[in-house]
């Protein structure tokens, strides 16, 4: 930030420099863009949630969120998001730990990280197709289990268009995301800590519960929150997989935007507002925990 070494220049930007207070003009296009296409549209929905059709302030829409059918939507959405985030964290952690600490050959790591990059971005409509083709009624795994092992998973009540079906599908992008985020954190566990714990007489279990997990805890919780938000906001996968048969919040909102199925536009805004509140809570936890975990990983 040297202020003196600038030659006299006729361009608009440098001309405004001496006064300094005009430097912010340089990011004005960005701010206007963000305002027009990100912040104002979101605020628009939030304000709509607190207005009645006549435009007056009201809390009625928010109260209407607490009717049974809408609460049920939030509840199943939250359950799927928690289940897929929790399993994603556990399995992703197990695989990341296997790569970093498990003594696997070094060449395993790079393909897994690359694949995780691909799979964490492979969401949406095609992912739903992939799971229909695998675990649908005629899917490869369904058929193989039936023909080879005599297990008809559909006879046991499994359905790809259900809570567990959707959770299983979401795991396809949740696990890789966990691997991508937690591997650097595991790399940050110093060998010295394990050795120090061993010298003080700790066994493997004690090392994990008393040293490693307390250090990793913020990273784990933060990633859990991120995965939760990730699943909670997902629309395309669920819509392509289940149509509207599973009324999770994003699907209800999707139907509402398309055709006002709630027959109350302002209840629609309240529904969207509820989604923002949930994802803001989840992301606040994520960002807060990330800030805490970086203290350990950085050094």
């Amino acid at each position: 930030m040297s202020a003196s070494s600038e030659p006299i220049n006729n361009t608009l930007f440098t001309a405004s420099k001496p006064s300094r207070s005009f430097a912010w003009l340089g990011i004005l296009p960005f701010l206007i863009f963000a305002l027009l296409f990100l912040i104002l549209p979101t605020l628009n929905i939030v304000i709509g949630a607190f207005q009645n059709p006549a435009g007056q302030f009201t809390l009625e829409n928010i109260q209407k969120l607490f009717q049974e059918s809408i609460l049920a939507s939030y509840w199943i959405s939250i359950k799927i998001s928690v289940a897929s985030a929790l399993l994603g964290c556990l399995i992703g952690f197990a695989i990341a730990a296997a790569i970093v600490l498990g003594g696997l050959p070094a060449w395993v790591r790079s393909p897994i990280m690359t694949f995780s990059g691909v799979a964490s971005n492979f969401a949406g409509v095609p992912l739903a197709f992939a799971f229909l083709a695998t675990l649908g009624r005629l899917g490869l795994v369904t058929v193989l289990l039936r023909d080879w092992f005599g297990i008809n998973i559909y006879a046991y009540g499994f359905n790809i268009l259900s809570f567990w079906g959707l959770t299983l599908t979401y795991l396809f992008f949740q696990i890789p995301l966990m691997i991508l985020i937690i591997t650097p954190a595991l790399d940050g566990l110093k060998r010295e800590w394990r050795e120090a714990a061993a010298i003080l007489g700790a066994n493997g279990f004690q090392y994990w519960t008393m040293v490693a997990l307390p250090i990793l805890w913020p990273a784990l919780l933060g990633t859990f929150a991120l995965l939760f938000a990730n699943a909670f906001g997902a629309v395309a996968t669920a819509y392509a997989l289940t149509g509207s048969s599973l009324s999770i919040v994003p699907i209800v909102l999707f139907a509402q935007i398309r055709g006002d199925v709630l027959q109350d536009p302002h209840l629609g805004y309240a529904l969207a507002f509820g989604m923002i509140v949930v994802t803001i809570i989840a992301n606040t936890i994520y960002l807060w925990m990330r800030a805490r975990s970086e203290r350990w990983v950085k050094s």
């Binding site: 440098t14 197709f129 992939a130 935007i257």
Partner: protein, 267 residues
């Protein structure tokens, strides 16, 4: 010794489980996509889907959207990230927070806001015409790509001494636009490319914006095929996965190239 052995054993178990979980849907999808002709494996589903004029039209539309999004993202992000680093370090948390917002606010809420804000009775009735809606789509996709694009470019800028570069260029008489186009842009090209490939992968199959804004994009087309056909969706999934894989592969490739060309010790 046995502790390490058992540790390694469980590592292999975790890995095998992972490989199984991720390989099965891919194998399953590929196998399913070949089953269209009864009694034999064939690429019939691919032939049908690739020959579908709607496939070609929607795919080209989404490719166009992706490219426009990348251009718009670069024009918006590179000058901003550069300017923040050069002159407005105090604004950095604000700008960074804004670029993270699209990860926090669900896409469906953003598009809901667009429909409410830019409808035909508003001041700026973008959704009133196909062209206006296309502009809105590009802006929306730029918003979705913002977190990735900004982070990529900002990381790229971190490795440069932009103050010195700017002063050197200015002392040679270059204006700000020249500096951005001829000095900053080439230096963060690799970062831009890696952001661009990710953006491409996100936009090409995007569903919510296109479906709710009623534009003929690839995502809604895939959903339509999924609702009406049996084997073609699997073929589409294989195609979409290949595109994602290609984008990520190219992204890794350019990042690796960057590592070779940069002198990393000076960071």
């Amino acid at each position: 010794m046995s502790f390490w052995r058992s540790n390694r054993f469980w590592a292999w178990v975790a890995l095998a489980f992972g490989v199984l979980y991720f390989a099965l849907p891919l194998i399953g999808t590929f196998e399913f996509s070949l089953r269209m002709k009864r009694g034999e494996y064939s690429f019939e589903a691919y032939r049908v889907i690739l020959g579908d004029p709607r496939f070609q039209a929607t795919f080209m539309y989404s490719v166009m959207m992706a490219l426009l999004t990348i251009v718009m993202g670069v024009l918006l992000v590179v000058p901003t990230a550069y300017w923040v680093r050069l002159k407005l370090p105090r604004w950095r948390p604000v700008v960074e927070f804004i670029t993270l917002l699209p990860l926090i606010i669900p896409a469906i809420v953003i598009v809901f806001g667009y429909i409410r804000m830019y409808n035909t009775s508003s001041v700026l009735p973008l959704t009133g015409s196909a062209f206006g809606t296309d502009i809105l789509m590009v802006c929306g996709y730029t918003v979705l790509a913002l977190p990735y694009m900004y982070r990529a470019v900002d990381t790229g800028l971190r490795t440069l001494d932009i103050t010195t570069l700017t002063e050197a260029a200015e002392s040679l008489g270059a204006g700000k636009v020249t500096i951005l186009a001829k000095i900053i842009l080439p230096n963060v090209l690799v970062a831009i490319l890696s952001g661009a490939f990710l953006t491409f992968a996100i936009v090409i199959g995007e569903f919510v914006f296109a479906a709710l804004l009623n534009r003929p994009a690839f995502g809604p087309f895939m959903q339509l095929i999924g609702a009406n056909r049996a084997y073609e969706p699997a073929a589409l999934a294989v195609i979409a996965f290949s595109i994602t894989w290609l984008c990520m592969g190219l992204m890794q490739l350019v990042t690796r190239l960057q590592k070779h060309t940069q002198v990393k010790q000076f960071r």
